[in-house]
Amino acid sequence: MALTRDQIAMRVAHEFQDGNYVNLGIGIPTLAANYVPDGIEVMLQSENGLLGMGRYPTEAEVDADMINAGKETVTAITGGSIFNSAESFAMIRGGHVDFTVLGAFEVDVNGNIASWMIPGKLVKGMGGAMDLVAGAKNIIVTMTHADKHGNSKLLQECTLPLTGVNCITRIITDLAVLEVADGAFYLKERAPGVSVEEIQEKTAGKLVVEGDIPEMQF
């Protein structure tokens, strides 16, 4: 069965290694912070200028001067640091952030990603997404495998304006975990109960299936 949003987040969180600095996009990526495995600690970077992002505040802790990149009220962990936006993106652009997790409209077999603009719809802007995909060492895209009309989001070539080229190496969807390499999607794991055939059917870009594909472990 297709994963729920929380299950996708849970699977994403299994990618983290102890000591990783992680930037989580809005939506499913943010949920991943709730599922960091025991014994693993990550530090969250928020691109508006906060390293060591903590939980949401209590009513008493709410402070208009303390927000995250999603403009939500937030707290800092003990030992966090705060800095200006140029410093924040120096961390991102310079490859100091280990992991970025973000959503996408489309990804293709060359690791291109489209996530910010749908022609004909009002363009609101890319925010920090282009910097993040150009800068982080490891980028994980989380999204549903197909859109609500059943159209695959894993394409041979992106059709929407790009956010970045040649930068996506790992995708976690509601159906599968895939790696992007050598101009193809490599199927690595299936969601529990989801068949390779279903994944094949919903993957428009070249899919490589090598050997037995295990079910995801949580």
């Binding site: 209590t58 927000i67 995250n68 939500e72 009220t73 140029a86 924040s88 652009r93």
Partner: protein, 235 residues
């Protein structure tokens, strides 16, 4: 030191010299750390045809959003402008131009502008609409695009505390683009919560040294919160 006393006492003085068609760089991220009183003064003065460089354009009726009401803004240079119905309307009408710029590139453009770096290479935006028409050069086998820096006729900045020499510190994440904007204005105006005596700010903790600052004004702030989210147990 009279020549170094940057404090002004009226918003008229603070924004004196602002004219139609000027470029104004504004600090702030969303509604966090925005120079509320300086923005209100720009509305009051009524300068038109402005180019505003700011990560966002406020919301309807607050922050930079109020400058849309009398169509004072000709062009926005921003990374994200999605919280504003009036903005959307003027954009679709063709009354407003927007130059979308990746957030990190925008921050670096301001810093570079203040630092006398006319242009820099970045991987951000290569191969995307942002990179179109820009010079491309490879370094270590990877392509980068050339981005030019930004300076403004004015920079409007919100700080927490400043002394009369213009030394500033920022509070929490209200820092954001503010110290970068501060370096990039021909005239830099800082609106602060508190004016302190020189020496009260520890020299090595000063975020914006006074050399970048031309005018300091004490403001009062509403500090509207855009998205109040509480810890689970309190929801």
């Amino acid at each position: 030191m009279s020549g170094f006393d940057k404090v002004v006492t009226s918003y008229e003085q603070a924004m004196q010299g602002l004219e139609d068609n000027m470029t104004v760089i504004a600090g702030g991220f969303g509604l966090c750390g925005i120079p509320e009183g300086l923005i209100a003064q720009i509305k009051k003065q009524g300068a038109k045809g402005l180019t505003i460089v700011s990560n966002n354009c406020g919301v309807d009726g607050f922050g930079l959003g109020i400058l849309l009401e009398d169509k004072q803004i000709k062009k926005m240079v921003s990374s994200y402008v999605g919280e504003n119905a009036l903005f959307e309307k003027q954009l679709l009408n063709g009354e407003l131009e927007v130059e979308l710029t990746p957030q990190g590139t925008l921050a670096e453009k301001m810093r570079a502008g203040g630092a006398g770096i006319p242009a820099f290479y970045t991987a951000t935006g290569y191969g995307t609409p942002v990179g179109e028409g820009k010079e491309v050069k490879e370094f270590n086998g990877r392509p980068y695009i050339l981005e030019e820096s930004i300076t403004g006729d004015f920079a409007i900045v919100k700080a927490w505390k400043a002394d009369r020499f213009g030394n500033c510190i920022y509070r929490h994440t209200a820092q954001n683009f503010n110290p970068l904007a501060a370096t990039a204005g021909k005239i830099t105006v800082v609106e602060v919560e508190e004016i302190v005596e020189p020496g009260e700010l520890e020299p090595a903790h000063i975020h914006t040294p006074g050399i970048y600052v031309d005018r300091v004004i004490k403001g009062t702030f509403e500090k509207r919160i855009e998205r109040k989210v509480l810890a689970k147990e309190e929801r």
